[in-house]
């Protein structure tokens, strides 16, 4: 036997469907005993409201769409965790759509969500958000995270430039002078901003106009490759600042291979503070990933309920997390390997 519908319940309770709806949704204008009868009937039939029909009729899906780029593991789980926590606290579901490379995919993903969600959280550091918004279903509120934001659309950004500057100053402060930067993939907003911050800071605080920059792509392998190239090229550096933690880890692996000690000979720093960074004692800039996810959902749901000003861009400053890969100070024991 198929799932019971509201009509089955109505028949069973010998009332109209309207009364069932009222009874089950806690309306006031219904007699207590009528409600009881309805509840009993629903219970008996194992009735569960059809959320799809409900949202069509109410024009409210109680779901928010999440469109993400192909994120690395820990970053992904952290941001989704943050969103999920906030969403379920507010009675919303999360409809996921990891998207891949190009704008077309993204647009497709967005369109597929129309009529399923009340709003969107879009993270697309590698795309033109303006172009994206243009192809977005109209009238669907959205919060952009780490996007090349058009002004006017609510957006959450990480202060990558400031973060890179902080890191450079930390490295300079520990006596490093020849600092190389390994970049993220070209076209990626975070990568570009971190690079810009690095350049700016090196010029301003170290008087270096043309610091060493190695191309990368946020993957561990790219970090290792860049480091090997650096060593093979005989470049003399005393610090490597990678645009994210995964690459920094790659750098460390390559340095170990080459017998270069960290941080004695070369200091290594990353960006993001993914959980694994802590175990590897990697100095990095902590980005409150889960917090940003939660905040994006908060802003979106506030916007949906009319509350909260759809205040435009909000900037989040990452925090410097100093660990052993840039300071020899505290010698720690090591798990032998």
């Amino acid at each position: 036997m198929a799932q019971a519908t509201i009509r089955d319940v109505a028949r069973e309770a010998e009332v109209s469907v309207a009364s069932v709806s009222r009874a089950l949704n806690g309306a006031e204008n219904i007699r207590a005993d009528t409600r009881a009868r309805v509840v009993a009937a629903a219970e008996k039939l194992g009735y569960v409201p059809h959320a799809g029909a409900r949202s069509l009729s109410m024009a409210r899906a109680h779901a928010i769409g999440v469109v993400l780029p192909d994120l690395h593991g820990e970053f992904f789980s952290e941001i989704v965790r943050g969103m999920d926590k906030e969403a379920s606290a507010r009675g919303f579901h999360l409809l996921l759509s990891n998207m891949h490379a190009d704008l077309n995919d993204a647009v497709h993903a967005l369109r597929a969500m129309r009529g399923r969600v009340d709003g969107l959280v879009v993270m697309a550091p590698h795309l033109d958000a303006a172009e994206l918004m243009r192809n977005m279903p109209q009238n669907v509120p959205a919060v952009l995270v780490n996007c090349r934001a058009d002004q006017g659309t609510p957006a959450l950004l990480v202060d990558n430039v400031g973060g890179a500057d902080t890191m450079v100053r930390h490295l300079l402060g520990t006596g490093r002078r020849a600092i190389a930067h390994v970049t993220g993939p070209s076209g990626n907003l975070d990568a570009e901003e971190r690079l810009a911050g690095f350049r700016l800071s090196m010029r301003r605080h170290a008087g270096v106009d043309d610091p060493l920059v190695l191309p990368g792509d946020f993957s561990e392998e790219a970090g290792a490759a860049a480091t090997r190239a650096l060593i093979a090229g005989g470049q003399r550096v005393d610090a490597i600042f990678a645009a994210n933690d995964m690459m920094a880890i790659g750098c460390m692996l390559a340095l170990r291979e080459a017998g270069v000690s960290v941080p004695e000979q070369i200091a290594v720093a990353g960006f993001d503070d993914i959980p694994v960074a802590r175990y590897l004692h990697l100095t990095t800039m902590r980005v409150p990933i889960a917090g940003i996810g939660a905040l994006a959902v908060t802003r979106l749901t506030d916007q949906l309920s009319g509350r909260g000003n759809p205040a435009a861009t909000e900037l989040h400053a990452p925090e410097l997390e100093v660990r052993a890969t840039t300071t020899a100070h505290k010698k720690e024991g090591r798990t032998r390997t």
Copy 2:
């Protein structure tokens, strides 16, 4: 102006809504020029089909619900990644619902998905699946992952007993005899099975009937605490087998604190092979997490389309991943810290 509906497009193209539907859904019985006119009108109005209405009318949501326990970061992202990949390849969305502790939450989460999804993937190692299924919306196909499966329901399981046995034999094979096990939370299926496998294997292969078992809860802190207790108690062991990687990491931290060398004095092993395990050179049992997620979705969608036999339980054997925390053989350089 609100989003255009199919009627707006019909009016614009001067055809009936049926024709619009046909044109946009690639039906055959429609003249090419009519279709062109419809497509043009849709384009002009920026029409995007309302997925909610569509699924109500077709009785097909093209979405699958995912109900997960509160998983640790890497495990979570891996399994969701596996599901997402498979789901989007098959034109399905993922509706997420991380659930917390009790059965009530889980039931609530499940009911909230009725009418939004075509099927469910449920992972609930800490709950009674039978009880859960009873409270599940009827007629909604489901695949259970790591659940106390009722026979009859499609299920995916990890061979925890066999995995634990493999690990114990590996440890015995490297000359360890006094092996302690740190368990997961009580009531958790994986935890219980791993413990059972440990006991069984110790009895069978080491002739130990009552091996040392320390209670834990899958968290890093629990691993550290158990280890500290072990040391404080003056117990003499030469290996610690933690029921998951996070706890194994906690063990290693506590051992380092206490100045105990790994693996010389005490070997450490975990279970799961989360990515961080690799960096820490932790010996562990590799569970193909993403693969299981993908497979769950595959089985579910096959079931939805009538394809594939809803074959009941499927068991996946984890693989032993030997690394440095159990073998002193290959000395590796270390990133200084």
